[in-house]
Symmetry: C2
Subunit: 171 residues, 2 copies
């Protein structure tokens, strides 16, 4: 089971794919899509085709994106929105579902504290996913949201098992 | 020569394709992509595939989008940005260029006044493009930006001819 995590941005879009192997997970690939200095539509096209190529090459079954910290600046929000739109379209077009997690819940899932800083997230991600090489901040964030999605799903599944048990007791 | 105009929105995305025939233009198709009440990624997917299908069916050679009036609300800007990102990606992915025009310059091009209201734009569009049937507001805006793009290109071409003449006089 592979999960694609994306941290979209209009200049740098972090990505990371994890593979769940029994009780642990490994990092399959991580990196940053750099959109360069071209016209904005061209940059959106680079995000879109970059994410699509990742899905074609690595076949993740699910995707997760950090929900947005909305800045006070509507102009930044608009730019970020367009980048997110490009990334999410690429995922939806390939038939994958996308889950969203707030930055706080991602940090909570990875470090155990919603207020953890970026360095702590990066450190924990390298440890948990056995990443030996250097990890860009945006790529670490992308891997973090993928891992958060996996943890959340595990919890949901455990709850289902528990509920299943309850209903048997009820009967 | 066909031009696709798009007025993106997270709930309603207006579209219109015009065909330039000598000195006048006609409307080939117009309408509104309704994204419904589903999850946000799904709605972006509907915009993306809707625009892509239009391009596949009608083969426009160029596209134009209204540049955004940035609202004071960053949350609205984010939503609108994502819708724009989806629409623009669909265009770029099909190899078309996208031009952007401010709402003011669209109104200026169509009605002759940057402060014209929506009804006036709709009325002029129906007249100029010989649209007999009812025209949704978002579709009228989309046709307006397509026509604005055509007018702008004509002006640019005339200027090129003029400059060509100047340089011959200079020689």
């Amino acid at each position: 089971m592979r999960i694609l995590g994306i941290d979209p941005g209009s200049r740098f879009t972090g990505y990371g794919i994890i593979e769940v192997q029994g009780d642990s997970s490994i990092c399959v690939v991580h990196g940053v899509i750099k959109t360069g200095d071209g016209e904005f539509p061209e940059r959106l096209g680079i995000i879109f085709s970059g994410i699509r190529k990742l899905i074609e090459d690595y076949h993740p079954g699910q995707a997760a994106v950090e929900s947005v910290f909305v800045s006070r600046n509507p102009n930044s929000a608009l730019k970020l929105g367009q980048a997110r739109g490009a990334a999410i379209c690429a995922v939806v077009e390939q038939g994958l579902t996308v889950s969203e997690y707030s930055p706080r819940s991602v940090k909570q899932a990875i470090v155990g504290r919603g207020s953890a800083d970026k360095e702590q997230v990066k450190h924990m991600i390298s440890m948990l996913l056995h990443v030996k090489e250097a990890l860009a901040e945006d790529a670490a964030d992308a891997l973090a949201v993928a891992l958060c999605h996996h943890h959340t799903q595990q919890t949901v599944q455990r709850m289902r098992v528990l509920r299943g048990g309850d209903s048997i007791n009820d009967a």
